[in-house]
């Protein structure tokens, strides 16, 4: 029989699957389904959800604006130290987010390297803008890596063809390169958004936990777990639903691969 797995592989494979799936099942089993509608419309939940959606979306826009050009530079431009730049850009990917938060504080905090110059005008830590910054810091590498990979896979000769037709480099990027890598940009943006939505460590370190201003869904979940476990479950379910929706969007790209 083709495709039959030996026991040595099948048993750990099933165990691994159960390990990944059971906690999610537990979440669904323990969910207070009867009171769910009421709980979902609690101001506290709605506020955290609204803040999460706004900050994650803004962070994604920031990541797109900065990350797509950065990915282009890494994929297309030739310059010394490109390998080093790529390595540095991907550091937040493996860095514990809480360390990222500390690092952001040291630079953009009231007495930070850069933050002190602006301390009279505005402050970033413990503001909604700070949440966006923390999320963008953690999520941008996902976008950069996804877009860079797509750019590398795209045939650069289309860009040459566009140049022979008289397109300036900016026009080539706008009308040829970007449409060609659009699927990669979309996938990267979705991934980036999901990562920003779930961001916890850097956010709580850099932006704190002020309801309505910096308390996003993950922070609310963590806080609720100590005072109102059922609320934590509800909030978790909402995040889970959002993640499943994201997976559904990326279904064609990943699950079928």
């Amino acid at each position: 029989m083709r495709g039959a797995a030996p026991w040595g592989l099948a048993v750990p494979a099933v165990a691994g699957m159960a390990f990944l799936v059971l906690p999610l099942v537990g979440l669904a089993v323990r969910a207070p389904w009867t009171t769910l509608p009421a709980r979902l419309t609690e101001p506290r939940v709605l506020e955290a959800l609204r803040l999460s959606l706004i900050t994650a979306t803004t962070a994604t826009v920031v990541c797109l604006a900065l990350g797509v050009p950065l990915a282009w530079l890494l994929a297309r431009a030739r310059f010394r130290g490109r390998g080093l730049v790529r390595a540095l850009v991907t550091v937040p990917l493996v860095l514990p987010p809480v360390v990222g938060g500390v690092a952001l504080l040291l630079v953009f905090g009231r007495n930070g390297l850069i933050g002190r110059w602006f301390s009279g005008a505005f402050t970033l830590p413990f503001t909604t803008a700070g949440v966006v910054m923390a999320e963008a810091f953690v999520a941008m590498p996902f976008l950069v890596i996804s877009v860079e990979g797509t750019l590398r896979a795209a045939d650069p000769r289309y860009e040459e063809a566009a140049a022979t037709l008289g397109a300036s480099r900016w026009t080539v990027f706008r009308r040829v390169t970007l449409p060609l890598v659009a699927p990669g940009v979309v996938a990267g943006a979705v991934l980036c958004w999901a990562r920003a939505l779930g961001e916890f460590g850097a956010t709580i370190t850099f932006a704190g936990n002020l309801p309505g201003t910096t308390q996003t869904m993950p922070l609310a979940v963590y806080l609720a777990l100590e005072t109102d476990p059922e609320a934590a479950i509800v909030l978790s379910l909402v995040l889970l639903a959002v993640c499943v929706a994201v997976l559904a969007v990326l279904r064609d790209r990943w699950i079928k691969a």
Binding site: A162, A163, T164, L165, G166, A167, R169, V176, P179, L180
Partner: protein, 342 residues
């Protein structure tokens, strides 16, 4: 119109050729793979930087300009139609880059597509077009920018034999109507003969022969060209009607002195099992190196004082019982040879 010296130096490769093309002239760069033809074309387009040399188009040096400011049109081997744009928008792309407003560029593109017989495929995406249709759209896209220099890289190589015939005829018509200079790269001698006014044969980065298709076909000067046009070619020394090639002396129709080429077609070679009577003058013994089908005939490769290809009918192969390794007599009529100064 176009006057260029192209020098491109790479590790282990050096391209150094001079290309000129008058207005309305089609010049074909012909040569084996790796000869540097495509590099030359890309250098003209501005996609490859010149190491030395210059490109002058309409009296203006353009080699310092980037590709987008050279007034060229290029048809790529695999067309490179933008996959996210319709045929119409592909053709309108160039004019729009030149600043033509969108609506006007589209009207112009529609006219081009109608002219090449694709008015029913205006909104088709490239993947919905056949190879022949895509080729025509690529040509229209390149011509729509009204280039002074049209560059075609193996424009027919990606087509199947049948489509190729049809598209070749269409391409020839468009090239005749085109008033700028055109440079075509191909490794197919037929494409070169049909489409070009002048052939430039490139081997190993240098020009080995230049001339009209008829001249080149009649007077090949390298083995590559001789093979392309299907001739046996030798270099020898002439004394009157006799040419000595590697110790073998051939009688030829022309009277010449000194270094010469001798060429004759494989069909001019006759094979015999025994030494033929009547002693034709060009006769020698040879061994069959190989036999392969060539159209409806068989091409026999012969080793001997000189290597020769002979075309014989299937009947002759059977009748003479020709097999590799066999000794045969080879005869070539003097009247079918062609000698010319080397």
């Amino acid at each position: 119109m176009l006057s260029a010296r192209l020098v491109v130096e790479r590790e282990r490769f050096r391209l150094d050729i001079v290309i000129d093309a008058a207005a309305g002239e089609v010049v074909a760069l012909l040569g084996p793979n790796g000869a540097g033809k495509t590099t030359a074309l890309r250098a003209l387009a501005g996609l490859v930087r010149l190491s030395h040399g210059e490109i002058v188009l309409d009296g203006e040096p353009i080699h310092e300009r980037p590709a987008e400011r050279r007034s060229i049109g290029m048809v790529f081997q695999d067309y490179l139609l933008f996959p996210h744009l319709s045929a119409l928008d592909n053709v309108a792309f160039g004019p729009r880059c030149q600043g033509t407003p969108k609506a006007r560029a589209r009207v112009g593109a529609r006219e081009w597509l109608e002219r090449i017989g694709l008015k029913d495929h205006l909104h088709a995406r490239p993947h919905e077009l056949s190879g022949g249709q895509a080729q025509r759209v690529a040509l229209a896209r390149a011509l729509a920018v009204r280039p002074r220099l049209l560059l075609l890289d193996e424009p027919l190589a990606a087509l199947d034999a049948h489509t190729r015939l049809e598209i070749r005829a269409g391409l020839r018509r468009h090239l005749e109507e085109f008033d700028g200079a055109a440079v075509l790269v191909t490794h197919d001698p037929l494409d070169a003969m049909v489409l070009a006014d002048r052939l430039v044969v490139v081997e190993n980065g240098s020009i080995v022969q230049e001339g009209t298709p008829a001249e080149v076909a009649r007077h090949p000067r390298t083995d590559y060209v001789a093979r392309l046009v299907g001739l046996n070619l030798y270099r020898g020394t002439a004394a009157g009607h006799q040419v000595t090639i590697d110790g073998l002396t051939l009688s030829v129709a022309e009277e010449l002195e000194g270094p010469v080429f001798v060429a004759f077609p494989p069909s001019a070679v006759a094979l015999f099992r025994g030494r033929p009577d009547g002693t034709p003058r060009n006769l020698w013994a040879a061994r069959i190196a190989g036999i392969e089908r060539h159209g409806d005939q068989f091409r026999v490769g012969l080793d001997g004082p000189i290597s020769v290809s002979a075309d014989v009918t299937a009947a002759a192969v059977a009748e003479l019982d020709l097999l590799p390794g066999q000794e045969v007599w080879v005869a070539v009529k003097a009247t079918e040879t062609h000698a010319y100064p080397a």
